[in-house]
């Protein structure tokens, strides 16, 4: 009797499972898991069929599935079981350059709803080989590309995923590896949910970890991202769109560029972000960098909980005027709190594939910076409960920027330049440099240099309403040193140690 009960229970459970999203198996569409059959058209048929049947999951069981460009359609989830790999063709001709998106990708979705890629399987673009094959074709003259910096343009190399104008997108548990270009782009999507993904993206130049472009309603959490280019990257390509209403939580990033980045393309803006508990390590440039260089509005951003270990720079906020086309850049109401950061003397990304380029030399260790423009100030930034450990040791015989008005004014504005923390070469502070800003508050912040530096910890230039509350400086052999140097600034200090 009990046995019967168990049997019926099982039947009942199976029925229940069938009522939820229906599963279709890729192999039923003639898709082969042998790693050498090019399955592009069979997988596409599977997607089309599931879509026509009203939706469900197209399931890939253990095996290697070779493919070129496929288009995901509404109500279809690609489910990659553990051990299943979507293997990108290494032949650039097997990829579409979508005429609307004007980019190449392995998996596209354009204007689709309720789509996803889930499961503990892998998407492996094998981008190194694909990109180099493309270089060969360009060199032979059978593909047109300027081959700038001896690499094909980003748009002529396939990403792993490019979703554009999609709604209700779920990316969960998957591993994304080795794209030929950026890795995964979600562009003008609504309700994007990314949870528990693992990214290993350092097989070729411009290998970002994740690019979220002009999306509204984003959750990105519990993910690990190791990338040659920017790791957790938000962009705004469209002056009339924005990245907004975004939660980033419990993510780990590693990059030969920057960890958490807004920009560089920053036309529309970034609004209402809550970033909680991120770790950035072995990262060449900045752990956190927000760029409004193309007319972006950046406002209401809270970053709470950052461990930045072995990272070249901690915070870099920059307003520039690069491709603004007359749009006024704004950066205001930013809180960064509960940060612990260690900056090394050595190159943080040494040994990783596609290490960041060594440039802007000579320069001693660069400080964290907030740099606006004379006409566009960065406003209302609160830095709270922060400890930054720097190597110090700035040597004036190697690179020198003194504190005279002439020397401080000699720092170029670099209005139209690409924004990087190192762009000004030697800066006059070892801890923090602030220029063209209003309402900057430091509250319970510790700056620690491991070796004596010739520079003060902090220099402000054209900064109004700067408050230092409970700010501590620890630097060997420097007890009497004036660590805050205001220039053309209005600065208030309380509880300094």
């Amino acid at each position: 009797m009990n046995r019967y009960k168990f049997f019926f229970l099982c039947v009942g459970l199976l029925c229940g499972m069938h009522l939820s999203a229906k599963d279709y198996y890729a192999t039923d569409f003639g898709v082969k898991a042998d790693g050498r059959t090019l399955n592009t058209n069979s997988i596409q048929k599977g997607i089309d069929f599931v879509n026509e049947q009203g939706g469900g999951r197209l399931v890939f069981t253990t095996g290697n599935y070779l493919t070129g460009t496929i288009y995901l359609k509404s109500n279809v989830t690609l489910h990659l079981e553990e051990g299943a790999t979507l293997l990108g063709s290494t032949n650039p001709w097997d990829y579409e350059k979508d005429s609307y998106i004007r980019w190449m990708s392995m998996i596209f979705a354009v204007k689709q709803q309720n789509i996803g890629i889930t499961g503990k399987g892998t998407i492996n673009g094998r981008g190194f080989q694909t990109a180099n094959n493309m270089v060969d074709y360009i060199q032979r003259g059978i593909y047109e590309d300027p081959l700038k910096l001896s690499r094909p343009n980003e748009t002529n190399r396939p990403q792993n995923i490019y979703f554009r104008e999609c709604e209700n997108v779920t990316i969960k548990d998957i591993t994304l590896r080795d794209p030929a270009s950026w890795n995964q782009t979600y562009d003008q999507c609504k309700n994007l949910y990314v949870d528990g993904i693992h990214v290993d993206s350092k097989s070729y130049w411009n290998n970002d970890g994740i690019d979220i472009v002009d999306c509204d309603g984003v959750v990105l959490k519990n993910s690990f991202i190791d990338a040659a280019d920017d790791a957790l990257c938000f962009k705004s390509h469209d002056a009339n769109s924005m990245c907004q209403n975004v939660v980033v939580e419990n993510c780990v990033g590693r990059s030969s560029a920057s960890g958490l980045k807004f920009g560089t393309v920053s036309r529309g803006g970034f609004r209402n972000f809550k970033v909680k508990d991120i770790k950035i390590y072995d990262t060449y440039r900045s752990a956190i960098t927000f760029a409004a260089v193309d007319g972006a509005l950046i406002e209401n951003i809270e970053v709470d909980g950052v461990r930045s270990i072995h990272t070249g720079n901690v915070i870099y906020l920059r307003i520039g005027d690069r491709w603004s086309a007359g749009k006024r850049p704004v950066m205001k109401n930013i809180t960064i709190k509960n940060v612990y950061a260690e900056i090394p003397m050595d190159k943080p990304d040494a040994g990783y594939n596609y290490e960041g380029p060594i440039e802007d030399l000579p320069r001693n260790i660069s400080p964290a910076s907030i740099v606006g423009l004379p006409d566009y100030k960065i406003q209302n930034v609160t830095l709270q409960n922060i400890e930054i450990v720097s190597p110090g040791g700035g040597n004036p015989y190697y690179a020198y920027r003194g504190l005279t008005p002439a020397e401080l004014d000699s720092i170029p504005e670099m209005v139209t330049s690409y924004p990087e923390f190192s762009q000004f070469k030697e800066l006059p502070a070892w801890g923090f440099y602030i220029r063209h800003a209003e309402g900057i508050t430091f509250d319970n912040v510790t700056f620690k240099a491991l070796k004596k530096d010739y520079r003060p910890a902090i220099v402000t230039d054209d900064a109004q309403g700067v408050t230092f509350k409970d700010v501590r400086f620890i630097e060997p052999e420097s007890e009497e040193k004036q660590q805050i140097f205001p220039y053309k600034s209005e600065v208030k200090q309380t509880g300094l140690k």
């Binding site: 003639g30 059959t37 090019l38 069979s42 032949n91």
Partner: protein, 250 residues
Amino acid sequence: MNRNKLFVSVIGLLVFVASLSAKDYQVSMFGIKSDGVTLNTRSIQRAVDYISGQGGGRLVFYVGRYLTGSIELKSNVTIRIEEGAALVAVPSVYDFKGTNGCNALIYANKQKNIGIGGKGIIEGRNKAVRTSIEEQLQKGHIKGNVSDYAPALICLDGCEDVKVEQITLQDACNTAGIYKDCRNVTIDKVVVNAQTSESNAVSISGCDGMKMTDCYFNMVVEPLQTAGTSRNLTFTNCLTPDGKAVSTDK
């Protein structure tokens, strides 16, 4: 002065003649692989598009097996399959398409000055392709009959100045060569091998001007199917295994 004029006109004539002669492109230039495993469809298509865009020429396949799905032939391009080379159909229904419902390994619609030649083979892999079609029909992923999907080897629709020469057309899933509404077609020294009842050698409809010479049809069914009104068809020394000459009148 006259000598200069002569010189210039000779050079001009040479340039003109050179531009008329077809340029050869090796398939390796386009990353097309001869391993029999790599699916070359898009690489071959890319090559055809490129050569057509450059004004024309021959895409030359040397020894090896070249796996492919459907290719669309474009104006002024000749696919040349040299001795020892085989263009091999991939056994997957979803890799075939065609023009106006005429699925084929090589198809063209309203193209001019096109060719398929060389002493190589085009291999349809009838059984394997058919299995894929039947399997997908059975699973309900596609609807209809096998014949709705079975690809021909060559299907040319509304094309002009066509040359098919020397090639061996083998093991087609459907008719080996379908010619609809074409003008000025030359078929010379073509061998068709097909040991199944599903395959005709040649299907001709609505064509004006076709010369078929020295062809050999190794078939179990009638090699020739003519439908619709075709004009100016001539068949010279085209034989079946029992020595019968092929002609339009049965």
